[in-house]
């Protein structure tokens, strides 16, 4: 009887280990009596099996974790690749819009001047008729200005593959990005801006624009969809402890304290399935770190989340102005104008000829031919992207025949849309006049260039 009880007990222990293994609990062990019998052998075997399985399962789980991490990293790369593709597409579209917009701006300037000239020759009753035309021209010029602002904003946003950090004003980047993102925010909340001047920071316009846009979109998605007039997304810039700070706050439900450490992890999202990739804030965090900055989340006075991006200031340096200073002084400069868009050459040539002596070239090849015979120019205005021989080839020809003229070589461009173009601009940092530009901007630039002496050849 005692033997039967002992047998039942030992079988029961062995059964417990088997059940534990079935539950994937590999830490339970059967007692080994040291009786050296078959039951002891089974107990020893089971214990060894449990240990073996425990190690195997642990390494398999580790492999699965590594595999999942790899898949996430791959998805992130794909996502980044898609963003880059969207950026390239936007950049290409902006370029295509900018060329006709440049012609339109030049044509409108010519029409306006003609109206002004005509006005002096008309009777007062006839001038009223002309007045309507002049108003229409002014409206059209304002429309071109809007196109210019829009394509400029798109270019800023699309500069995703240019990673160079340059001195910039954070408040200006925030202003541009808010204009771009406003259509996404306004259907859900009022967008309130309070942009105070901040210290100059070393940054990448495109990347910081992405930070602002992602935070704005995140804030807009955080507020309830109902009653947009009752919801607020507030964006501000200010200086704190000598640093430039961007703050984005919303009137949504906020981020619970226990999730604040996790929201910057890739693929972490509190949004419903399909509403977010969980990449937005992790990209923001990565970009901010790459700028040697910090990002913090807290509760906003408005009840929702409050994100503070803080970037270190750089010693005061001259930040390139967003538009050249205007000038009204007389100009008489010899200008080589190079563009493969015949309309641009014709219209700009006509406008420039009032105050400059213009030599026109309708292609890069033609420009190089001219430069090999004659390089007595004060300024060269050259399109960057042209069919066959492009602006870079012309720049290199000038480097060969009249290197001192490079100081007065200006690329007019609707955007660097090729890798070659972007690499060249990054490497050489030449003077650029973004298309479309106003004629007064062009004269202002020419005036500035010819006022500084050329270096001796």
């Amino acid at each position: 009887m005692r033997f039967q009880e002992e047998l039942d007990l030992r079988l029961g222990e062995i059964l417990e280990v088997l059940l534990a293994i079935a539950r994937q609990d590999f830490n339970v062990r059967a007692a080994v009596r040291g009786t050296e019998d078959v039951l002891d052998a089974i107990a020893v075997g089971l214990n060894m099996l449990a240990e073996e399985l425990g190690m195997e399962v642990a390494s398999r789980r580790e492999l699965e974790r590594a595999h999942a991490e790899l898949k996430r990293a791959q998805a992130q790369l794909v996502h980044s690749g898609k963003l880059a593709a969207v950026g390239q597409l936007a950049s290409g579209v902006a370029h295509e819009i900018n060329n006709p917009a440049t012609s339109l701006e030049a044509a409108l300037t010519i029409v306006k001047r003609s109206c002004d000239d005509l006005s002096t020759k008309l009777l007062s009753s006839e001038r009223e008729v002309l007045g309507a035309a002049r108003e229409a021209v002014a409206d059209a010029q304002e429309a071109v200005s809007r196109i210019r602002r829009l394509t400029g904003d798109i270019r800023t946003f699309a500069r995703a593959d240019d990673e160079a950090l340059r001195p910039l004003r954070l408040d200006e980047v925030v202003d541009v990005s808010c204009r771009l993102a406003a259509p996404m925010v306004r259907p859900r909340a009022e967008l309130v801006l309070k942009l105070l001047p901040v210290p100059t920071v070393l940054g990448n316009r495109g990347r910081l624009g992405q930070v602002v846009t992602n935070l704005l979109v995140n804030a807009a998605q955080a507020v309830p969809e109902e009653a947009p007039t009752a919801q607020v997304v507030a964006v501000s810039t200010f200086e704190r402890d000598g640093k430039a700070v961007l703050r984005v706050e919303d009137s949504g439900p906020g981020v619970p304290p226990e999730l604040r450490d996790r929201i910057f992890e890739p693929f972490f999202t509190t949004k419903p399935e399909g509403a977010g990739t969980g990449l937005g804030l992790s990209l923001v965090s990565e970009i901010v770190l790459a700028h040697h900055g910090t990002i913090d989340v807290s509760s906003s006075d408005r009840g929702g989340a409050c994100f503070d991006v803080s970037l270190p200031a750089v010693p005061d340096v001259a930040v390139p102005p967003s538009s050249p200073a205007q000038t009204t002084g007389p100009i008489r400069a010899r200008v080589l104008l190079v563009d493969d868009e015949a309309m641009i050459v014709r219209l700009l040539g006509s406008l420039l000829s009032d105050r400059c002596d213009v030599v026109s070239a309708n292609s890069g090849n033609e420009a190089i031919g001219i430069l090999e015979r004659d390089h007595a120019f004060d300024v060269i205005l050259c399109d960057l992207h042209m069919r066959e021989t492009d602006g870079i080839d012309v720049y290199e020809a000038v480097q060969r025949v009249a290197p001192s003229l490079l100081k007065r070589f200006v690329f007019t461009t609707g955007g660097a849309v090729t890798a070659r173009g972007r690499a060249f601009l990054d490497r050489n940092d030449p003077r650029i006049l973004p298309k479309p530009f106003r004629v007064d901007e062009l004269f202002s630039l020419i005036s500035e260039l010819i006022s500084s002496p050329l270096p001796s050849p």
Partner: protein
């Protein structure tokens, strides 16, 4: 004849050219014991790489880490072959786990007869 012992095992150099390792009754082999055992084997062998007869007839258990160490490159650099001597059902289970669940880089076999195990070790090509 050189002899030594560790916490759970005694070692003796057999004049026929192999090390005889005998595990204590009721002992359980952990990784630290396995390391000591390999060191002792090599020492008894006069720091030569000799075959080893492991008598595990009284062994009560062996951890996975110990088993993995015995087949590691570090360990097999110190012995050239292994004959496992088993008798009880428990030692047979331990021996079978060792033999079947590990990848062996030196000749390894299990025996229930000591004379056969010895003959196999002695007959191995030198």
């Amino acid at each position: 004849m050189a002899e030594t012992r560790t916490k759970i095992c005694s070692f003796m150099l057999d004049e026929r050219g192999f090390v005889h390792a005998r595990l204590d009754a009721g002992a359980t082999m952990e990784e630290s014991d396995a390391r000591e055992a390999i060191d002792a084997t090599f020492r008894v062998a006069g720091e030569k790489r000799l075959p080893v007869l492991v008598d595990l007839r009284l062994l009560a258990g062996e951890s996975r880490a110990a088993r993995m160490y015995f087949v590691s490159d570090e360990a097999v650099a110190r012995y050239s072959a292994c004959a496992l001597l088993v008798a009880s059902p428990v030692s047979r289970v331990i021996g079978t786990f060792f033999l079947r669940l590990s990848e062996h880089k030196v000749p390894t076999r299990m025996f229930s007869n000591e004379a056969e195990a010895t003959k196999w070790l002695v007959d191995l090509p030198k």
